[in-house]
């Protein structure tokens, strides 16, 4: 009798693995930075090559770090959402302009509107590597202690914002 159970059991195990695999996004790479202190950088801003910006500037209350580039079509799609989030004013958004050209980035912000409290210019992608960025857009949430609490890969939507970011910002000791 149990001879017949073996193929059935093998089938069930395979089915289980494959079924779980079906619903997983293979391009999603979990970040080891969750729960770690936000990596430091000191970069110039997109608007002003003489002005420095660093994540440290925003410590003390939760902030969002959004990685983008003008070469990234999904970022354009996401931009409207970022503008709406910045209008909400729940937490400042820091832009990380990743592997881009200053002129194009400036033009993008002028034309589409600027949702960022500041935008760091990272043409060589160094800060990107430190933050474990492997594509744009990626959006991090950093709590009041400067610890990364959440990372969203792919364009941000209001649905994701309301579901994943807002409760964490409210819980993160934010004064906003």
């Amino acid at each position: 009798m149990w001879r017949y159970a073996i193929p059935v059991a093998i089938f069930a195990v395979l089915f289980g693995f494959l079924f779980v695999g079906l619903n997983r996004d293979p391009s999603y790479v979990p970040s080891p930075l969750i729960g770690k202190h936000a990596p430091a950088f000191s970069l110039t801003t997109v608007e002003d090559p003489n002005k420095q910006v660093s994540p440290e500037d925003f410590h003390g209350k939760p902030f969002v770090l959004n990685v983008w580039g003008t070469w990234c079509a999904e970022c354009r799609r996401e931009h409207e959402t970022l503008l709406e989030i910045s209008r909400q004013g729940l937490a400042p958004i820091v832009g990380l302009n990743w592997k881009d050209e200053r002129e194009s980035a400036e033009q993008w912000l002028r034309q589409l509107g600027d949702p960022y409290a500041a935008t760091a210019f990272d043409p060589e992608g160094r800060a990107g590597i430190d933050w474990g960025v492997y594509g744009a857009p990626e959006t991090f949430l950093i709590d009041a202690n400067g610890v990364i609490v959440y990372k969203h890969i792919a364009p941000l939507t209001m649905e994701v914002w309301n579901r994943e970011f807002v409760p964490r910002i409210r819980a993160g000791g934010g004064r906003s």
Partner: protein, 153 residues
């Protein structure tokens, strides 16, 4: 035949140089170059996922190769470099995942599957070894055997 093998080997050697991504070797010191190549083949390009950073044209892979070159030039050890990468990108960046509680099933699966196959094969062979006499008896009675022999004669 020997000539054919030699030609194929030559083509493969050539192909390797053709496919090298960066035009010039990264280091003039062959020892450092060997380390560099070994490491680029151990690290995954996260954009393309099924390519190592040695094989990938993605700009992120180029950045990581650059980072790698600088770290080697700065005298960092292989372990330092791999730690640097996993600190930022997680174990996924390694082509060879580390052996730990989470990956026990992954690493032991080949051995377990071979074992299961050996056990299954052993069972089948043992059963077969016991069968022949009984089976011929079961399949045909002596009368039937006689009859079939007579028909063939």
């Amino acid at each position: 035949m020997r000539a054919y093998v030699a030609i194929m080997a030559a083509i493969m050697l050539l192909a390797q140089t053709v496919w090298a991504i960066d035009a010039a070797p990264a280091f003039s010191d062959p020892q450092l170059q060997a380390r560099y190549e070994k490491l680029t083949h151990q690290l995954r390009c996260l954009v393309c996922q099924n390519e190592t950073i040695a094989d990938s044209n993605a700009t992120l892979a180029a950045d990581l190769r650059k980072q790698l070159r600088e770290m080697i030039a700065a005298g960092k050890s292989d372990q330092d470099i791999l730690n640097y990468m996993t600190d930022r990108y997680g174990d996924f960046v390694l082509y060879k995942p580390p052996f730990e509680a989470r990956t026990v099933l992954l690493w032991s699966a080949p051995v377990l599957l071979v074992l299961a196959g050996v056990i299954a094969a052993f069972n089948v062979i043992m059963r077969r070894a016991r069968l022949p006499m009984e089976e011929s008896n079961d399949a045909m009675s002596d009368d039937e055997l006689d009859e079939s022999r007579r028909r063939t004669v």
